[in-house]
Symmetry: C2
Subunit: 150 residues, 2 copies
């Protein structure tokens, strides 16, 4: 399968920026098909909706709505930051075969688990994702710690 | 830590029954403190809210709202059915030290991952949880398959 990773990551980053502007945790996500269709996009809503489980990826999967297994199997899930255990688990639950992250310098989620389970994991080493996240953590460390259960 | 497992599982089962009555996937959950305070309770909302990620456990964590890590660390998460990878990941994310499931005859989630990660996992072998779930799967197999990405 070949995917437009530039598009997928760009949409995820747009979502992350939206989150930052709203005062929230700036992590964005996008669910993309092989033929470039954006099935879902979303960003972390901890602050905006007082939500414990609407991370970038789960928020994206929520906007994608109810989908049959056959659709997820042909998608890539993009996220601006290494996916936490819950979001990695969501990718595994729906058997999404490929996950592209913007970076994992800021935080390392459950990448190992994804890879061991046969998911293709790609790190885009994107500076913009990293700078946005590190700026947020510097400004609001307590919100970030809460988001990752620290 | 000692918990009132009877109470926790009872609340989770009440939620599952509520879900069944609403025509939804009958999986319920409860987040309980050691001193018996119910911090959250919820049930799967796939059908009711066209939600892909509001499983019993995530729905429960949503109603519990934003909590500091120090609170989760002193809780047990109850669920009527073995927790899927996403919900197991949610427990790991928030470092919830103990998970009690109603049963795992119907479905086996990511229990192994929880145990390997140091979470105490208890199976209550509850017949009522099992009967409710199996009745639902018999009546609406396509909704159940969608819920677990099959």
């Amino acid at each position: 399968m070949t995917f437009d990773d530039k598009l997928g990551l760009q949409v995820a980053l747009e979502e992350a920026k939206k989150g930052f502007e709203e005062g929230g945790v700036p992590i964005g996500s996008c669910l993309l098909t092989e033929d470039g269709k954006i099935l879902g996009r979303g960003h972390n809503l901890r602050v905006q909706k007082s939500s414990a489980t609407l991370h970038g990826e789960t928020s994206c999967l929520e906007t994608a709505g109810r989908l049959p297994a056959s659709v997820y199997k042909k998608c890539t899930l993009y996220t601006t930051l290494s996916p936490c255990p819950m979001c990695s688990g969501a990718a595994l639950l729906f058997k999404i075969p490929r996950v592209v992250m913007g970076e994992n310098d800021t935080f390392v989620g459950a990448e190992d688990w994804l890879e061991k389970s046969g998911v293709e994991v790609v790190n885009a080493h994107n500076d913009e994702c990293k700078e946005l996240m590190q700026r947020f953590i510097k400004e609001k460390p307590e919100v970030w710690n809460e988001d990752i259960g620290e």
